[in-house]
Symmetry: C2
Subunit: 199 residues, 2 copies
C-alpha cells in the first residue's frame, strides 16, 4: 500500500520571503515535492504550457469547478480567476507524492477548511518574539514607533493561530532546515504511520 | 520570558532498543536534555548519590507522594517502590530545559494521563509495516510462523495509537536523526511558539 503524500502549505504575511524559502526548499537534495499547479481563466502567454505552468480553463469551466467544490481556494484578479484545483492535489497525494503549496494567508485559510489534514506552516518575520521588550531595551525608538510595531506584530500573531507550525525566516537556510524537520516529523506521526500499515 | 521546556517521552516494547537510542541521543551535539531522575525506596548502593542517581526516599514519603499526585508513574518491584516524581519534571520544564524520559509502555501511558502536553515517541522494531506481505513474498516461513509474527506486530501497533510519533529503530543513527527532527518540529508548533511570546 502506498503511503499517501503530505500536503504542505507554506504561507505568511506578504514580504516575509515565502517565494525565496520555497525556491530554496526545491533546491534541496532528497526533496521530491510536486508543486501545486493553479488554474486560471487568463489566456496562456507565449511559452506557457497547459498542465505545467497553469491549467488554462474557460470562465465557464472555472465557475463549474467552484460550484462542484473543486476549487480549494480562488480569487478574481484583473478580470480573471486564479485558483487551486482540489482534484490535482488529491490525485497527486493518492499516488504517494507530497504536494507543496505556497500561498497567501487568505488562500491558506480557504485551503485549510477543505483539507485540514495538511501541514500548515506560517513563515514569520524575524524578531517577532519578545518584540516590545527588545525595542524598549534598545531605547532608540519612540513610544509611538514601538506601539505601531507591536500592533503590526500582533496582527501577524493572530493569523498564526490557524497554522500548525511557525517558522522564523531569520536566515533562509535555517528556515529551510526547520521546514525539512517539520516534514520528517509529520511523516512519523502515528496517525499517518498507521494509515500505511496492513490492517 | 523563558520558553517552557519540552517533555520528551521515549517508549516502546521491551527489547526494541530504547536504552541504546537514548544513549546515542545524549551523545549528540547540541542536545541539552535533563534526564528524568526516578525516586525509589530502596537503599542507595555504594557510590550512588541522592538527586543524581535517584531521589532516595522512605516508604512513607513515597506513599505520600503517590497520595499527593506527585508520582507521574510508579511500580513496586522486589519490595521497593520506583517512580517518576512530577515536581522535578515540572521545575525543570519551567526553567526552560527539556526533560527526556525513557520508560516502558505501562509507565508512558501513566505519564501521559498526567502530562498530555508531552511529546510521546514510540520506538518500533524494524519491518513492522507490510509485515505479512513481506513474509509471504519471501516464501520461507510457514503459515503458522507468519500468523504468529503478524499477531505480535498487531499487539505492538495497538500500543502505538497512544503516542504522537512512531520511529522505526532500523539503524540507531537514523532513529536518532528522526527523533531530533521531531523535537525541532515540536518546538515550532504554533501552540508552543505562542506560549513564549509577549501578550
Amino acid at each position: 500500500m502506498t503511503q499517501r503524500g503530505l500536503l504542505i502549505v507554506l504561507s505568511g504575511p506578504s514580504g516575509v520571503g515565502k517565494g525565496t524559502v520555497r525556491k530554496a526548499i526545491f533546491e534541496e537534495e532528497g526533496i521530491d515535492f510536486r508543486y501545486s499547479i493553479s488554474a486560471t481563466t487568463r489566456k496562456p502567454r507565449p511559452g506557457e504550457k497547459d498542465g505545467l505552468d497553469y491549467f488554462f480553463v474557460s470562465r465557464e469551466e472555472f465557475e463549474n469547478k467552484i460550484q462542484n467544490g473543486d476549487m480549494l481556494e480562488y480569487a478574481e484578479y484583473v478580470g480573471n480567476y486564479y485558483g487551486t484545483p482540489k482534484s490535482f492535489i488529491d490525485e497527486t497525494l493518492a499516488s504517494g507524492r507530497d504536494v507543496f503549496l505556497e500561498i497567501d494567508v487568505q488562500g491558506a485559510l480557504q485551503v485549510k477548511t477543505k483539507m485540514p489534514e495538511g501541514v500548515y506552516i506560517f513563515l514569520t518575520p524575524p524578531d517577532l518574539t519578545n518584540l516590545r521588550s527588545r525595542l524598549e531595551g534598545r531605547g532608540t525608538d519612540s513610544r509611538e514607533v514601538i506601539e505601531k510595531r507591536v500592533a503590526a506584530a500582533k496582527e501577524e500573531l493572530k493569523m498564526m493561530i490557524n497554522y500548525n507550525y511557525a517558522v522564523e525566516n531569520d536566515v533562509v537556510s535555517k528556515a529551510v532546515q526547520r521546514i525539512k524537520a517539520i516534514i520528517t516529523a509529520e511523516r512519523l506521526r502515528v496517525i499517518r504511520v498507521l494509515d500505511q500499515i496492513d490492517n
